[in-house]
Amino acid sequence: MTAAAAPAPPPRPGLRRRFNKAVPWLLLAPGLLWLLVFYVLPVVQMFTYSVSTGSIETGFTMTMSADAYVEALTKFGKQFLNSILYGGLATLFAFLIGFPVAYSIALRGGRYKNLILFLVIAPFFTSFLIRTISWKILLGDEGPILGPLKHSLGILPGGFSLLGTPVAQTAGLTYNFLPFMILPLYVALEKIDPRLIEAAADLYAGRWEAFRRVTLPLALPGVFAGSLLTFIPAMGDYINAELLGNPQTRMIGNVIQNRLLVQNDYPVGSALSFILMAAILAAVALYARALGTEQLTG
């Protein structure tokens, strides 16, 4: 477990040992450098721009002005709330759908286990954008679902529509990130030793009791990972809001995109992204503490 890979052959101290000590850093250097330059440095630059003033023509100077943050928080509170609301709803629905699915694959899958898992990840073989466009086709006013319901079955009034509503947006978000919920839940449930559940039954726990006090606590790491993997991308998403929602349901991603790519407003765009990142990191930390799974992230 300790020190270098090899139980050091004939001890040749000096140069050789120093080289052995450097080995991990030689292995790390290129990737680490890449992450420092293209992950850490950009975040630093983004922070700098968020406290700068200026324009794309004249360049931005760091003035430590908080104007961008004030504008971000006062003007776009609604979009922040939308992100939390729709991201949260998508995570909740993904959990409600994903848990039973993961449970039945892990504990009842039998010989179909791999086939079902394959079907769960199959959506990843299609582009995220195309899947969302497919939802637009599906939920369209005269599409394969609403069309028949309106005309041949006559259940719904002719003017009924789903596209451009919070319902469509939530359905799209839930759909797009559902596999991210199912897979970690599956991994956690699959690890559970069925004998533990039997033991609970032997000790006179009912099915529900055994589920609540044995299965669920053991699945918590999966719940933790799954809900983060769903919530983080769902909260930052802007495609579902743009293709399936309406101007009232726009999320913070839509604003960031617009400020940076359309208006070249780097201070406000950076402030918005910075707030989003800080909020998510804070939420992750709180959530980890609440579930008592801090050690999982390390």
Binding site: L27, L35, S127, I137, G253, Q257, T297
Partner: protein, 295 residues
């Protein structure tokens, strides 16, 4: 045997099969039904994509079914810019996969096989890009690239602005590294170090041991990591959108065209990618005798 009896002795049928408690019925009927419905929810948009690739849309938007046609499949790249975008996507996916897999594997090896100061910090740094929303990574990369072109730096760091193919590649390598590290680490952790010791007891030096014992054993982890990196890269839209400049990858092309037209070719290319990927998985599972386990 007992279950056959009621057929000849219908009177005792109710006695032989006592009423199942609620939980058991949920377990036996509701759970499978629910799972089938959920899988349906996951697969329906894919079915729509494939079905609508055979549509002959009325007008420019492929939103409503009109009539069956194989035109799209006969001319899959027949739309200005589409072919180039697909080629760009493939090139970036291949290149970023190669670089990220090498860099990530090296980090994964270092993290699992050596103890050194700053290891915890490094684990945190690897975790961060996976916990950061894509939009934040895209936005921050854009600010960095733009900053190299504006005062006070203005031009002192060449090549990063205007953004284009190279900046997309930089970004894809960046977000892929963490996923590779995590996947490779999982494989190396389950690795029996005694195998290496045995090789060295038998006279192999460190390098030979690595190439003849270690590498073949962790190769499946590296391949899995590369596949993951490839699929993340070829599908990425959010980050790419910030750093692509005027270069189109397939998702960027789809996004920019979908406001003005929705050609059937989008569905055709999407279906090709889907069927190709499924085909690859099926072939590899036939060869290894089962769909590869996820763990």
């Amino acid at each position: 045997m007992a279950t056959n009896a009621p057929a000849t002795l219908p009177v005792t049928a109710d006695l032989a099969r006592p009423r199942q408690p609620l939980w058991q019925r949920i377990d036996r009927y509701l759970l499978p039904l629910f799972t089938v419905l959920a899988i349906g929810y996951l697969l329906i948009p894919i079915a729509v994509m494939i079905v609508f690739s055979f549509n002959k849309p009325e007008g420019k938007f492929n939103y409503a079914w009109n009539e069956f046609s194989i035109d799209g499949w006969l001319h899959p790249f027949d739309w200005p810019g589409l072919g180039d975008a697909v080629v760009t996507s493939l090139l970036i996916a291949v290149l970023s996969t190669i670089v990220a897999t090498i860099l990530g594997t090296l980090i994964g090896l270092a993290l699992t096989r050596y103890r050194f100061r700053g290891r915890g910090l490094l684990n945190g740094l690897i975790f961060l890009p996976m916990a950061t929303p894509e939009i934040v990574m895209g936005a921050s990369l854009l600010t960095l690239f733009v900053a190299t072109a504006l005062p006070p730096l203005a031009g002192s760091i060449p090549l990063l602005y205007p953004t284009g193919f190279h900046t997309i590649l930089i970004a894809h390598i960046m977000f892929n590294i963490s996923f590779v590290v995590v996947t490779v680490k999982a494989r190396v952790q389950g690795f029996d170090r005694r195998l290496e010791e045995a090789a060295m007891d038998l006279g192999a030096d460190e390098l030979t041991t690595f190439w003849k014992v270690t590498f073949p054993l962790i190769l499946p982890g590296i391949v899995a990591a590369a596949l993951l990196a490839f699929s993340l890269s070829i599908d990425d839209f959010v980050i790419t959108n910030f750093v692509s400049g005027t270069t189109n990858t397939f998702p960027i092309w789809v996004y920019s065209i979908q406001r003005n037209a929705l050609p059937v070719q989008i569905n055709v290319v999407g279906s090709m990618v889907f069927l190709g990927a499924v085909g690859l998985v099926l072939i590899s599972s036939l060869r290894s005798g089962g769909i590869p386990r996820l763990r």
